[in-house]
Symmetry: C2
Subunit: 174 residues, 2 copies
């Protein structure tokens, strides 16, 4: 399995992947879109996220990709403890997934700072770090030169988990 | 040595570090600025870069930090083969280091694409990958929540080197 994903992602249909993860039968009604059902950087990123069984920490400057938003909601419904930290400036822009995630009952906190909360990482089950240059937006996935690393070495995962907890506490609105 | 650097960086004076790397005596005329001479994420990032002996590939969306610009020029003067890839949209903005690097004789290529060249990585001596969310700007270094990973595992370094070479060829203006 590749440990580095590059973008722009090859266009591919991710419906079967998401439907399967949601426990739906996909053979009965295959997606009518013309995109090939092939592995792509986006499908690999989705698969890594969908491997979560217990917890998912997400720390993202920008989050507007509908596919990634569906994956996160699906994990939440499956009982995975999802926590999201994001940047206040971007959160309110059109297409942001943050409102939908909150509406679904997912915990979201945002910065109250001058600087940007510019991280783009996630941690799956406290063991897999997913990080890089990629914001989770359709623009970035389809058009930009981007990278995502998938790392399971505790030497890297632990500092990012600690950073997440620091930010999570700091952005506590109470 | 920490393998992950977080930002904003603690404010610190990097003059002695840069002067020493340039082969200047620093004891004779210490920097008059009031910043403490302590280790910081910025000084650690500089030290990793300044460890280059043969080659430095840089692939950056935005590059405006004067300290990091000086470090790169210093390596070029020291005979390190420096190549820079950057994004056309950002390159012309005020404060960009790209013009200064070109003026110093460093090879720079930029995209001619619609999407952003959004990578933020460097490879030192084909063995050390420096990558993360951080653009090399003073704003990001001083004010943003950012991360930088330092990785020497070939499983990660090699794909980034290959990506650099792909982009380098693709952006060849000839
Ligand atoms: Zn489809
Ligand atoms: Zn100083």
């Amino acid at each position: 399995r590749p440990r580095v994903l590059f973008f722009p992602s090859r266009p591919s249909c991710t419906e079967a992947l998401l439907a399967e993860a949601a426990g739906l039968r996909t053979t009965a009604r295959p997606c009518p879109c013309p995109l090939p059902r092939v592995d792509s950087s986006l499908s690999r990123l989705l698969r890594h996220l969908l491997s979560a069984r217990r917890s998912l920490e997400i720390c993202l400057f920008a989050f507007s990709s509908p596919q990634l938003g569906r994956a996160v909601q699906l994990l939440h419904r499956r009982g995975v403890r999802v926590r999201v930290v994001t940047d206040a400036q971007y959160m309110g822009l059109p297409g942001s997934q943050i409102g939908l995630l909150r509406h679904a009952g997912i915990q979201v906190r945002h910065d109250q700072e001058d600087g940007y909360m510019h991280h783009k990482f996630a941690v799956v089950d406290r063991r897999m770090l997913i990080t890089g240059s990629l914001n989770w937006t359709t623009q970035a996935i389809q058009n930009n030169r981007e990278n995502v690393l998938v790392v399971e070495d505790a030497e890297y995962v632990k500092p990012f988990l600690d950073e997440f907890e620091r930010i999570w506490e700091e952005y506590n609105p109470i």
